[in-house]
């Protein structure tokens, strides 16, 4: 987690200057129960997306609109407009299948195959990419999509886990749940949402006394930095110079904390705690000032 904080700070300029494009695809449901579940998940991710990017950059496919043609066309357009610095997040909500050779994400008309997904993602110029596929059998696409700059999340370990999954419900629950916000910074990263959902899936099967029929997977280097939801409004754009000064100071302390955490193994516990305490008191004091200026008292 500590590495996450440092990287977040270092990447701030990149993250703020580049655009985040988000595509949400809600596939076929099959039953009214799933229709309700998938719609709810899509609703949550749509809301969360609005907290991290601008509305025009969010594209949501569902129902009859979610055809292969329209989806591929959308990605084709994206590929021609986005830049290398931009980021892309793709969420697939629905059912998938795998026949031992080919993965398919079920949509009205011809399905999207694993190859389509791979081609689309490879064609997008965005260096940092995220694909979240919560469908059954979604693990079938893991290998073909792996890439250190691409965060890939699937609900299953492989294509053989074919039962409808629970992972999606928990993942999209996480993006609006402060319980998933492990570092309490009011932002949910992909990693935090994944950890939350993975744990809930494990708990579910343990509670039921059943063998788990799904094993969520995560790959890619930027899961800890890729914020997919903000629980509170980001105040970094505030124009108050005093606030800006304290925010800068807070960022500097964050970096020192990160550096100290990296050295933890080299220090005696007491020494580490002593240094940590000094930095945490500084950080808390600065935060207190930020709160006073901004009139916030967030908890």
């Amino acid at each position: 987690m500590s590495r996450v904080i440092l990287s977040l700070v270092l990447m701030l300029p990149l993250m703020t200057s580049a655009e985040l494009h988000i595509t949400i695809i809600q596939g076929l449901d099959g039953t009214s129960d799933y229709a309700q579940q998938f719609s709810e998940q899509a609703r949550r991710v749509n809301i969360a997306s609005e907290s991290v990017t601008q509305n025009p950059l969010i594209r949501y496919f569902s129902g009859e609109d979610a055809t292969r043609e329209s989806i591929l066309d959308h990605f084709s357009q994206l590929a021609s407009t986005m830049t290398h610095e931009d980021r892309i997040a793709v969420f697939l909500i629905g059912h998938g299948s795998y026949d031992g050779f080919e993965y398919k994400f079920n949509i009205p008309g011809p399905d999207i195959t694993g190859k389509h997904i791979k081609d689309v993602m490879n064609a997008l110029p965005a260096k940092v990419q995220l694909l979240v596929n919560t469908s059954s059998a979604s693990g079938a696409i893991n290998e073909q999509l792996k890439n250190e700059d691409r965060v890939v999340i699937t609900a299953t370990r492989n294509g053989n886990e074919r039962l409808a999954t629970r992972f999606g419900a928990y993942f999209f629950e996480a993006i609006e749940n402060s319980a998933a916000d492990i570092n309490k910074n009011n932002a949910i990263t992909v990693k935090e949402a994944f950890d939350y959902a993975e744990r809930m899936v494990t708990d579910y099967f343990e509670d039921q006394g059943q063998l788990a029929t799904e094993h969520p997977q995560l790959s890619g280097d930027y899961a800890g930095q890729f914020v997919i939801a903000r629980l509170l409004r980001d105040r970094t754009e505030d124009e108050n110079p005093e606030l800006t000064k304290f925010l800068t100071e807070r960022g500097e302390i964050d970096i020192k904390i990160e550096e100290l955490q990296l050295k933890k193994g080299e220090l005696l516990q007491d020494e580490f705690l002593s240094q940590l305490q000094i930095l945490m008191i500084d950080l808390s004091t600065v935060q207190e000032k930020i709160d006073q200026i901004s009139g916030e008292n967030q908890e």
């Binding site: 319980a179 570092n183 006394g209 008191i281 004091t285 207190e288």
Partner: protein, 767 residues
């Protein structure tokens, strides 16, 4: 009782010939004695060498037979004799294929399976043999032995067939008498056992069968009656100085009488005089484990394994021992004062000790304090308490084999039990089991383990009802049915309901009867008589005499008065039980059909008849649901409250009740209700966080801290919050150093966690 499995096998190999015993003991997988079932001159020749102790020559003889004999049965027996079990099995298989009608081959093949503890296959072979030769007495006795190992009552049928057949082979009849004598002794029917052993002895004399096992059983009786020596031991050792069973067989009877330390002594002597008595090593190992002598136990189990790797009890026990590294050993107090031992030692799984310890420790301390006073007995040694997250591990720890549905077992100062983690249905009230087993520690030790089973169980059940975590007498419906059918036993015979149940539910019926007997004695004669009876049992007095001496009435009078008590206490309920069942079914149906008024009526009427019924399908829960659906929040709360007060503990209902109380500002009650869930489902982070928060609000910082620490021990997803909560409780307790450390732990995970930042500043400023 499962320990009979391997003991019997071992014992069944000891009777035929004196020399057999001496020589067979040296073989890792000793060939089963055929008791005259076989008659083959070539094989007899090798066997003679074997009997005389000329082992090298005997092995050569057997080897030669394997290559020279054309008889596949002889080859199989020879392979078995030299310890080549695999080849023996193949040869028996081929022999049976070549002569499918031959019953003898199947009998001997079955004995091979008996020797390797595969009783079902052995039974099938004996039964196949009987299809071909219905009067084959060796097949009959073989089937009986296999069924005894599997605890099936059909064994008696086969034994009777042998004894009712005048033409049955002497070796088979001899084994039948021994089997019956052993069963009689297990049921403590000693007079009957003596008669049977006399029959066996006569048969042995008439047929030149050495009566060593008869001697061992007679010796067992002497020692169980308190004799320090037995002439039978002397006679057996004169006949065969290396006959370890003369001690191991009594050892078996001591352990099934729960006199584990005497059993250890006897098994130890058995392996001293017969060092390769693998079963005795195994039993010694398991009994040492019951006495918490883990290192010595492992030594003997490893010796047993080296000699007989087929014994499942040995293998299971060794595997269990391998897992002991995964357990925390926790002494209370952690640092004993000079010249004192810890009062309590816990063996708790590392994944669970942080959660279970506070509650187990509290229960243990409270129990020891109360039991010491109530039963006027001071513990002489620490109590060892083991809680197993895997039920089969617990059962293996108890009896060496998995697959038995028990929840706890006490061996004296040590008791072991299931953890709630292996009971995801949440119907297991682990706190009650804990209290029950701890009571056994006192009743066993206060009587030097001479207490009859019914009384020990009775006091434990009585303790649950009167003083346990959920108080009140709760009798299961099937036991009420048994009561109505007049199935309670006379007090003098109550032990039989535990030891040799005659119908499926008799054990649980006997538990309840024993508890009610104690309740009756305490109410009618006074609690001091409960303690007085313990003292009599310590002197080795039987139940009938104890009743006479302590209560001053005959057992028959006792039974009459107890019947009156039952009628008085339960007569009304028993008279309306049928009506209650109808109402209960009606409530279930109304609930399913969402007819809420009908649910209220049926459930309410059912509760009026039998308010103590608080199982998972309790009418209280139906009624609460109906009130909820009808929007009557107060009635729902009151119903749930009554359910809880009657001992109900379904977690969902308890959570609901606790929250309702809390939101009505009845916080103290809410805390009590929620806290009771710790005895059912303590592996719930939310339970500890919520309870901690409520306790903190009420100013009980110490208990709040405990709950928060338990929450952290469960490795919650939100560790930062867990550390923060602990730090907060530390702060209120003015434990500022701890508060600082814990809040720093929270901030190390979540540097921007505002409440933690504020607490850090407050702590720093306070200091």
């Amino acid at each position: 009782m499962i320990s009979r499995v391997s003991m019997f096998i071992r014992y069944s190999t000891t009777a035929l010939l004196f020399t057999w015993v001496l020589v067979l003991a040296n073989e890792a997988t000793a060939r089963a004695i055929h008791y005259g079932a076989l008659s083959n001159p070539e094989l007899d020749q090798c066997d003679d060498l074997h009997f005389r102790g000329e082992r090298i020559q005997a092995r050569q003889c057997y080897r030669q037979l394997i290559s020279s004999s054309a008889d596949m049965l002889v080859q199989a027996e020879s392979s078995w004799a030299i310890g080549d079990i695999k080849n023996a099995n193949t040869l028996f298989q081929n022999a049976v294929k070549s002569d499918p009608e031959n019953a003898l081959m199947r009998v001997r093949w079955g004995e091979l399976f008996m020797q390797t503890y595969q009783y079902q296959t052995a039974l099938e072979l004996f039964q196949e043999a009987l299809l071909h030769e219905p009067d084959n007495s060796f097949a009959q006795i073989g089937a009986a032995k296999a069924l005894v190992e599997r605890f099936e009552s059909d064994a008696r049928k086969y034994i009777d067939q042998v004894l009712n057949n005048e033409n049955a082979a002497a070796g088979a009849r001899y084994q039948a008498f021994l089997l019956l004598a052993r069963m009689a002794m297990e049921a403590t029917e000693m007079f009957k056992a003596v008669e049977l052993l006399n029959e066996a002895e006569t048969l042995a004399q008439e047929n030149e069968i050495p009566p060593l096992e008869v001697f061992a059983l007679f010796a067992s009786m002497d020692l169980l009656e308190g004799e320090s020596e037995s002439e039978w031991i002397t006679r057996a050792l004169e006949m065969s100085p290396g006959y370890g069973d003369i001690y191991a067989i009594p050892g078996y009877f001591f352990w099934i009488s729960r006199r584990y330390r005497e059993a250890i002594e006897l098994f130890s002597t058995a392996v001293e005089i017969e060092p390769d008595h693998w079963v005795a090593h195994m039993e010694l190992g398991i009994n040492l484990l019951r006495d918490n002598q883990v290192t010595r136990a492992r030594q003997h189990l490893e010796i047993a394994y080296g000699g007989d790797p087929y014994n499942p009890k040995t293998v299971n026990s060794l595997r269990l021992l391998d897992t002991f590294d995964d357990y925390d050993l926790i002494n209370i107090p952690e640092v004993p004062t000079e010249n004192t031992f810890p009062r309590i030692t816990f063996r708790l799984h590392k994944d669970e000790s942080g959660v279970l310890r506070p509650y187990a420790e509290k229960l243990a301390e409270q129990g020891i304090r109360e039991f010491t006073k109530r039963y006027q007995f001071d513990l002489k040694e620490p109590v060892i308490i083991e809680i197993y997250p895997n039920h089969d591990d617990f059962v293996v720890r108890t009896i060496g084999m998995p697959g038995v549905g028990i929840l706890g077992a006490t061996f004296g100062y040590l008791f072991a039990m299931d953890s709630p983690t292996d009971h995801p249905d949440n119907e297991y009230h682990w706190g009650t089991t804990f209290w029950h087993e701890l009571a056994h520690v006192f009743t066993l030790e206060a009587t030097d383990h001479l207490i009859p089973r019914w009384y020990s169980e009775g006091i434990s059940v009585f303790e649950e009802w009167r003083y346990g975590p959920i108080k009140g007498i709760r009798i299961p419906v099937n036991v009420l049915d048994a009561m109505a059918d007049d199935k309670f036993l006379p007090i003098a015979e109550l032990d039989g309901g535990f030891i040799r149940p005659s119908y499926d539910e008799q054990v649980i019926v006997s538990y309840m009867q024993a508890g009610l007997v104690c309740e009756f004695v305490a109410r009618e004669f006074g609690f001091d008589k409960i303690v007085g009876m313990l003292a009599e049992f310590k002197n080795g007095i039987d139940t009938g005499q104890t009743v006479r001496r302590v209560l001053g009435i005959t057992p028959e009078e006792f039974d009459e008065r107890f019947d009156d008590f039952i009628f008085e206490e339960f007569g009304d309920l028993l008279g309306h039980l049928g009506q209650w069942k109808t109402l209960h079914q009606r409530a279930v149906k109304a609930l399913a059909e969402e007819k809420w008024q009908d649910t209220l009526k049926a459930a309410g009427d059912a509760i009026e008849i039998f308010p103590e019924y608080v199982e998972s399908d309790s009418p209280f829960l139906f009624m609460a649901r109906a009130h909820s659906k009808l929007g009557d929040d107060n009635a729902e709360l009151n119903t749930l409250h009554e359910y809880w007060q009657n001992g109900g503990y379904a977690p969902e209902a308890i959570w609901l009740l606790a929250n309702k109380l809390y939101h009505r500002d009845r916080k103290t009650e809410a805390i009590d209700v929620l806290d009771s869930l710790n005895m059912v489902d303590p592996f719930d982070v939310e339970l500890h966080s919520t309870l901690g928060d409520w306790l903190l609000e009420e100013g009980d910082y110490t208990l709040a801290l405990t709950e928060y620490k338990v929450a952290l021990a469960m490795e919650p997803h939100d560790k930062a919050a867990a550390f923060y909560r602990i730090a907060n409780a530390n702060y209120f307790l003015q434990q500022y150093d701890d508060a600082r450390k814990n809040v720093l732990s929270a901030l190390e995970i979540a540097p921007h966690y505002r409440p933690a930042q504020k607490l850090l500043l407050e702590t720093t400023r306070t200091q």
